[in-house]
């Protein structure tokens, strides 16, 4: 399923950031004092929140819980497995 190029780029950036956050989370669980890791984690989580907000304002909810204040648009969007990630992907 095709989605617009800028929507796909934004989605990919969010996916990549959230992956890094999971990695940093796992690292921080065993290295809670690592200042550098904590700094990068805070930086990425701010950016991820920002991008998600931007995405949701433009394209609709990423998660069902974020779709609650609008009409139930959640089911209209393409499911993650329906998206063609390679279309002009990086």
């Amino acid at each position: 399923m095709k989605i617009s190029k800028d929507r796909l780029e934004l989605l990919k950036e969010i996916m990549a950031l959230d992956f890094s956050l999971i990695e940093l989370n796992l690292y921080l669980d065993t290295h809670p004092e690592d200042e550098k890791a904590l700094m990068v984690f805070k930086q990425y989580s701010c950016k991820s929140r920002e991008l998600k907000e931007k995405y949701e304002n433009q394209f609709g909810p990423l998660t069902a819980s974020n779709g609650a204040n609008r009409e139930w648009k959640w089911i209209e969007d393409p499911w993650p497995w329906e998206i063609d990630y390679e279309m002009g992907g990086r």
Partner: protein
Amino acid sequence: MKKYNMHVSPQMMGPGFKLARAYVPFQVMDKIYEPWKGLMRGTIFPELYDPYPKKKRSEED
């Protein structure tokens, strides 16, 4: 019980082979991959990226 006796005993492998020693050196974060590269490689820590088969690091994404 023959069919279960297929392991190679240390004697057969010679004295140099000891039983395994498991260890995990304590990781210290240094450089990390950019988010997209990390997602493609499955880790953001270069020291943990170890694909099979041995590919030259520079060539793949």
